[in-house]
Amino acid sequence: MDAPANAPIAPSDLDTQLSVAAGPLGNRGRARLAETALPATGVVIGMALIIGPFLATVIRSMLYWDASGPALSWLNFSGLFADPRFYQAAGNTIICGIGATLISCVLGFSLAWVVSRTDMPGRRWFEVFNLVPFFLSPYVGAISWVYLAAPHSGILSKLLADTFGLPPDLIPIYGIGGATWVLSLFYTPYVYLFVIAPMRQMDPALEDAARVHGAGFWTTLRLVTIPLLFPALFSAALIVFVTSAGLFDVPLALASPRGVRTMPTEIFQLVQYPSDLGRAAAFGVVVMAVTILLTVLQRRYIDRRRFETVTGKGYRPRTIALRSGGRVGALALEIVYIGCAVVLPVIALLMVSLSSIWTGTLSYATLTLHNFEYIIFNYSLTQQAILNSLFLAVTGATLGVAMSVLQAYYVNRGPRQRRALVDAILSLPLGIPGIILGLGFLILAIRTPLYSTLAIILIAYIARFFPFATRTVSSMLLAINPELEQSARASGAGWLQTMRYVLVPLLMPAIVAAWLMLFVIFIRELGATILLYAQGTETISVALVVLSERSFGYVAALAVIQLMLLLTAFSLFRATRASLIQA
């Protein structure tokens, strides 16, 4: 960590050559400059990206325009708190968030358990399938569920009405219930990912010890397994609550059409003409305060209750032989989940995208490829949107990952006394809803040349999502023994050479994973984009929203194209990770 700076470093030939170019700073001075300045630059940019929109929102929330111009005032806040719509929106969002958190915790924990700890048939496959929803777009998921379950016209609604004579508006897909259901489906993989790793790494002897000392299966689950996994489950629950409550996509598709207010859709409305940016900013400040409070609570909790269940040993997890009833139950759970989160929505999308007129059933008379042909070859909005999304995703992922490597280095190898604080600040955007960060950048950019450019969208994307990449790279860097770098330095490599030949190759799996993750997020992002786009800078997700008022077929076809991009990234993710582990 700090040792290489003090350790005598033998200059290598290459370093000596470089030092000639470096001029008066000399070899060691130059190396030390790169070593301290580059990671610090990554950290400073990251902090600026967080603090900029944050400050802009706070300041804007306290400015109130009257006849004489802007003045400092609490009027935005008092107006907000006097508005019954604020309480409706906040209440609905909290109900949605809690509901989605509870359902996804139960689903995610159960799925992780049957996949990692039992002999359920096909669990190797389900292990992969369970992650697919993580890579899909919640907005597309929500519109697919409209195709499936809308009253009268939904595929499932029709099927149930025609086969069983049930009322055609049985499934309440519009409103709080529907939004909670779709959010639960999309956030289940978060819980699944959070608990499956500790479930695997847990010393099986901890459960064995309970069994041999007299506890049955359910007692062991209640007294040992769940309490041991509780920290992971609780963190997952807090993160799912914060992110699902802040997600704009699902309420836009399922709550707004019935006039049900939620926090993100309400902020969106406040920015629309006639806009009230001041009140939107005040709403944003309230949400940010709650989010930061919850994030800090979560970190505190985790620091206090970090159990040493992982002893660094490779445990062979003991699989539990299910009885036939258990097998059927586990399989049914998996099939229902994958069916609802992936298979049914994809089938619905394909059916709608291949029909010239959508009536709720697929018929040969209306079967067509026209929707695809039109949005790919003839419609400039969708063509531009696809190009914009690809540009944003590739550029954004590359810049974001480069920044995250520097930040991860700083957080793990930088000045010891600043690491924890920097790590905490850099993780703040993890919970801040995209629409609120979008609002911050809108306020920042509104009177600058950046306004209505792709660049401001790119900056907002990186600002909102780089912590995911930093987390991924950082957790891998944490596992790399600093002696590996120290021995490179002792062998004569400079800091840049050590990064290039030792650290970056070691981190490659995390870098690839982080890049693909950012790519996926940027391809489907909607919350931040919706406030920042202008004519010509639409993305695929924005085009879906714009088109949703015109044509089912075009929306479904464009959603299928987005789905294919996302699934490509997912399969690359699986493929590279597998091959990287083998190497």
């Binding site: 010393d203 002897a205 901890l206 064995d208 010890a209 309970a210 069994r211 041999v212 000392h213 007299g214 506890a215 049955g216 007692t219 007294l223 040992v224 309490p227 041991l228 509780f230 159990f307 040493e308 269940t309 002893t311 040993k313 003991r318």
Partner: protein, 382 residues
């Protein structure tokens, strides 16, 4: 009376035969040690007895009742077997205090709270952890966690306590102390124990019966003294750290205990030893000569020339050789040497006598200290 009876136990992991038809019994109040290198199947046997693995064949009986019988379809759940187990990783629950950990077996047996508190205190007192009672279990050192695991395994006074390499994570001094304490506890509480270890000192000091395992089979069974003094197979000899050298039989004479065999280990290095049991070695047969390092006496030899070999017929009382010290390593009270005699290397351990590498030495070995095994198929031993 046999308290635990294991009959023909077999366990497969896919293709691998982890336990291959193992049978043994343990008497009431006795300790049986399963000793062997890692991967020999000893832990698997313990897990089968605990009910954490189900054997593929065989039967296990505890206190006269079948807890596992493949043929009869009997397989009791672990919690139905009334055991105490000390795991290698201790498996102390990090989300509970010391007292909660130790009281767990009583809690799940629905013992009244007051009684749990009293019995927990009593057992914590026995293992010397009274002061740590209300600490979180993770705040303890490795040695203390080990005591928590021990107290938890004993608190409900189980009939049988299983130990899975319980001391392998402790340092040498702590291990020696825990060994003594464990012996005292067993004396007081009178439980029957099965103790898995790869450490021969642990096995010999704690157990009435030692079972040496190799590749899922039992190599030898016996009381510690006989297993130690007279290794029954080349594997046991090697596992106990004896020198093992391959040679050919030159001469074999019947003696008081089996056969006296003269073995040529090299052109100029012939040694007399004793073969106990088995078919008598015939001249020319391939054999293994095993010598305990402590039984080889080494002394400085000034001139380095060979002693005239007395041309006696029969077995000498003592045989002397000239060798060279290849390496010396100081162990404290003792020093270990590697000696080469006519190119054959032998290890020797004795009080330090200041020999350095490269020095010529005289080596003295008594014929009855050399154990000769007929090499089967030429692939046994080292």
């Amino acid at each position: 009376m046999a308290f635990v009876r294991v009959e023909g136990l077999r366990k497969l992991f896919g293709e691998l035969v982890a336990v291959d038809g193992v049978s043994f019994t343990v008497e009431v109040g006795h300790t049986l040690a399963l000793l062997g290198p890692s991967g020999c199947g000893k832990t698997t046997i313990l897990r089968c007895i605990a009910g954490l693995e189900a054997g593929d064949a065989g039967a296990i009986e505890i206190a006269g009742a079948a807890v596992f019988d493949r043929a009869a379809g009997v397989n009791l759940m672990p919690e139905q077997r009334d055991l105490g187990v000390v795991f290698q990783s201790y498996a102390v629950w990090p989300h509970m205090t010391v007292a909660e950990n130790v009281g767990f077996p009583l809690k799940v047996r629905r013992v009244p709270k007051a009684e749990i508190a009293a019995r927990t205190s009593r057992i914590l007192d026995m293992v010397g952890l009274t002061a740590a009672k209300n600490k979180p279990a993770t705040a303890l050192s490795g040695g203390q966690q080990q005591r928590v695991a021990l107290a938890r395994a004993l608190v409900h006074e189980p009939r049988l306590v299983l130990f899975d390499e319980p001391m392998s994570n402790l340092d040498a001094q702590l291990r020696a102390r825990m060994r003594m304490e464990l012996a005292v506890l067993q004396e007081r509480l009178g439980f029957t124990a099965i103790y898995v270890t790869h450490d021969q000192t642990e096995a010999f000091s704690l157990a009435e019966t030692v079972v040496v395992m190799n590749h899922g089979r039992i190599e030898t069974v016996g009381d510690p003294r006989s297993v130690f003094a007279r290794p029954q197979t080349p594997f046991v000899a090697e596992f106990l750290g004896l020198n093992i050298n391959r040679g050919r039989v030159v001469n074999a004479l019947p003696g008081r205990e089996g056969f006296h065999v003269e073995v040529a280990l090299a052109e100029g290095f012939r040694i007399w030893g004793v073969q106990r049991g088995g078919k008598p070695a015939i001249p020319g047969a391939s054999v293994l000569a095993c010598t305990r390092k402590e039984h080889i006496a080494v002394a400085k030899c000034s001139d380095g020339t060979a002693l005239p070999r007395p041309d006696i017929v029969g077995v000498p009382d003592e045989q002397n050789f000239i060798g060279v010290t290849r390496a010396a390593s100081f162990l404290g009270l003792e020093e270990e040497y590697v000696i080469a005699i006519d190119g054959i290397e032998l290890g020797a351990i004795q009080p330090p006598c200041g020999l350095r590498a490269g020095e010529p030495v005289t080596v003295t070995i008594r014929p009855e200290e050399v154990i000769v095994f007929v090499a089967e198929n030429g692939c046994d031993g080292g």
